[in-house]
Chain length 362, copies 2
C-alpha cells in the first residue's frame, strides 16, 4: 500500500492510495457493509456510484456467518462479490457498543453475543486471525475503545492496553494485508500524543483515530480532531473512524484526515432522511405528495434521474424495498460526490471555500 | 393492439402482441407490481431480465397513493419509470379477497379498505375511471369473482352481474387503452360457455379467464382451463388470470392461453424459496453453508453469475435487503426464461417435449 500526496491546501490534502485492488482517491468515504453487504445495495451499484473502498465489520462477520465459513467460500471479496479494497475493523468497537456483557482482561475481551447470548473471546490474536481469514486489504488493530467520560487514570490504563494489543497485532500482521494502528486517549491531549508516539514507534501502514463521537461535546471532538491529526506522520493515511456527520467530516479534512466511514448515509436513507444540495429532507413530507420534481435537481444519481419526489414518498410510506434501495443509492451518491467535490476544491487550493459553503447548508 | 399468431403447436401458440409501448412475445409472464413497483426490483433490472409487460393492481393504487395522485404525477408509466406495457386489473379480485367487509349491489361493490377501514365504492364506472387515470395500456373490466364452491344459481347470478358490468365498462373504454373482458362461470361448463359468448358479443380486445385457482381441486381447474380456452376466439389474446404455478402454466399454454401473471416467483423469493432447473429449493438449508456453487449452474442471471449458495444463505438468514433482491432477480429470471424457452419449443413444434420435461421436475 502506497500513499502519494497529490496536493495540500492548508492541512487538507488530496492523496492517492495505491492498493493491489485498485486506487483510493482521498479524502475517501467508505460505505459500511456490516454483514458482507452494504445494506440495500448491490456491488455493481456501489461501483456505479464510485465507491473505491468499503468497510466490513469483523464482529458481525465473526458471529454470522463466521470467518471460517467466509474463508471456505473464498474470502470476503469473493463472498460478497466486491473486487475493490475492503477495510475491516477489529471488532473492538462493537464489542464495546453492542455486547450486553463484557469483561476486559490483559489478553483481550470476553463478551456475550448480541444475537444469541453465547460467550466469546476476542484478543489481538483472535482479531488478527479473523481479519486474516476474511482476507481484507486493510486490517485494524484491536483497541480498547475508551468510553466518554473517562477519568485520566482510566483513559491512561485503557490506552496502555491498546498499545500493548497494537504491538501484538503488529507481530501477527499477515503479508499482503495492511495494518492500521488506532489512536486512543479520550480527550486528554498528552495521552493522545503518547498514543501516536507509541504507535509510530511500532510502525503501521496507517493511523486511525478512535474514541471520538462517543458522546463528548462537538467542541471537544473538533479540538481533538485538529490536535491529533497534526501528530500523525504525513506520509501515512490518516483515518478518522466512524465519523460521518458532514460538519465533522469538514473539520476532519481541514485537520488533514484522509479516510472516513459512517453508517449515517445508509441508515438515514432507510429512515427516509435524505441529503440534498439544500440540506437534509424527510421524504415523507405531505408537500411531496404530488411533487413531480426529482429529490435533488442538482443530483445525477439513478434515483434523481428517474423518479419524482411524489413516487419516492409513496414507496417510502408503502414500505417498499425499492424505497430503501433508491434512498440508499441517493444518499451514498451524495456522500461520494461530496467527497469527490471536496477533493477537487483541495486540488484547486479552495478547500476553505468548499467548507464555508457546506457549513452553511448542514 | 394487434395480435399476430406466429406459430401454433397443437393448441399451444406463440404470438406477437404489438402495442404502442413495445412488443409482447407470448406465452408471456407478467411480473406483478402491486403498488407501482415489482417488489425488490428496479425497472432497469426488470428490463435486463427481459420483462415485456408488468401488471399493476388498481385496488392497491386506488387506496395508496390514489389514482389522482398518480395521474398528477404523469400517469403510472412515468410514476414508476416503466415505459413498456402495463396491464391493470380492475380491483374486483382484491375487493373480494382482501376487504374484510363488502356489499355487492347492482351497480358495484361497497367495501372496507384493508388499510384503514374506510368505506369505498367500486363500480364499472369507478374501475374504468381509475384505470383511465392510471393510464395503463390494458385495462380489465370489473368482474364479480365467483367464489368456490358456489351453487349453480349463485354462479349464474354472479355471471350475469359480470356481463352487465362488462357492457358498462366497454361503453366507457378510453381511446388508446385496450380493454379485456373476464370470463366467469365457476366450474359450470354451460355458464363458462355463456360467459364467453356474451363477452364476444360485446367485443373486447382480449379475453381473460377468472375465478380459477380459488380453492377448487386441481383436476377441476385444469378441466376448466382446457374447456374455456377453446371457446375464446383465436384472433384475440387469451389471459389466464392469477395462475403461475408452473404445472398450471403448462396446462394453460397447452390449452391455448397467451398471458399469465402471478406473485409466486416474487413472493417465494422473499421467503427464500427458489426455482431452479432441478426444482424448488429452500436457500436456508444447512447444507448450503459452505457451498461455493451458484444457486443454479444452468442459470445466467445476475445472482447466479455472481454469488454462491453460501452467500445467498447468509444474506437470507441475516434478513438483508440484498437477499430479497438477489432471490427476486433469480426467480423472475427463471420464470421469464421458462416462458422464453417454452416459446422456442412451440416455434419448433415441440411443446409437448417441453411440457413433459418440466412436469417431471415440478
Amino acid at each position: 500500500m502506497q500513499l502519494n500526496i497529490i496536493k495540500t491546501d492548508g492541512k487538507a490534502r488530496a492523496c492517492l492510495i495505491e492498493t493491489n485492488r485498485g486506487p483510493i482517491n482521498t479524502p475517501a468515504f467508505m460505505p459500511v457493509g456490516t454483514l458482507g453487504t452494504v445494506k440495500a445495495m448491490s456491488p455493481d451499484e456501489l461501483k456505479e456510484i464510485g465507491a473505491e473502498i468499503i468497510l466490513s465489520n469483523t464482529y458481525h462477520l465473526y458471529l454470522r456467518p463466521g470467518h471460517e465459513i467466509i474463508s471456505s467460500l473464498g474470502g470476503i471479496h469473493k463472498f460478497m462479490n466486491w473486487d475493490r479494497p475492503i477495510l475491516t475493523d477489529s471488532g473492538g468497537f462493537q464489542v464495546f457498543s453492542l455486547s450486553a456483557l463484557r469483561k476486559i482482561e490483559e489478553n483481550g475481551v470476553h463478551f456475550k453475543s448480541h444475537l444469541d447470548g453465547s460467550m466469546h473471546f476476542l484478543g489481538p490474536k483472535e482479531a488478527m486471525d479473523i481479519q486474516s481469514s476474511l482476507g481484507s486489504d486493510i486490517a485494524m488493530v484491536l483497541d480498547d475503545c475508551t468510553p466518554y467520560p473517562s477519568s485520566y487514570e482510566y483513559a491512561m490504563n485503557s490506552l496502555y492496553r491498546t498499545i500493548q494489543w497494537a504491538e501484538q497485532c503488529k507481530a501477527l500482521q499477515r503479508e499482503g494485508q495492511a495494518l492500521f494502528g488506532i489512536v486512543q486517549g479520550s480527550l486528554y491531549e498528552d495521552l493522545r500524543r503518547k498514543s501516536v508516539e507509541e504507535l509510530v514507534d511500532i510502525g503501521f501502514d496507517g493511523y486511525a483515530v478512535g474514541g471520538l463521537s462517543v458522546g463528548e461535546p462537538k467542541e471537544n471532538m473538533h479540538r481533538m480532531i485538529y490536535f491529533t491529526a497534526s501528530l500523525i506522520p504525513a506520509d501515512k493515511p490518516r483515518y478518522l473512524m466512524g465519523i460521518g456527520d458532514l460538519r465533522d467530516v469538514l473539520a476532519g479534512v481541514e485537520a488533514g484526515f484522509d479516510m472516513f466511514d459512517c453508517v449515517m448515509p445508509t441508515r438515514n436513507a432507510r429512515n427516509g432522511t435524505l441529503f440534498t444540495s439544500e440540506g437534509r429532507i424527510s421524504i415523507k413530507r405531505e408537500e411531496f405528495k404530488t411533487d413531480r420534481r426529482p429529490l435533488d435537481p442538482d443530483c445525477d444519481c439513478y434515483t434523481c434521474r428517474n423518479f419524482s419526489r411524489g413516487y419516492l414518498r409513496h414507496v417510502f410510506l408503502s414500505k417498499e424495498i425499492l424505497s430503501m434501495r433508491l434512498n440508499t443509492i441517493h444518499n451514498l451518491y451524495f456522500y461520494l460526490n461530496f467527497f469527490r467535490d471536496m477533493r477537487k476544491f483541495i486540488m484547486e487550493g479552495k478547500f476553505m471555500e468548499f467548507k464555508t459553503k457546506w457549513a452553511e447548508i448542514f
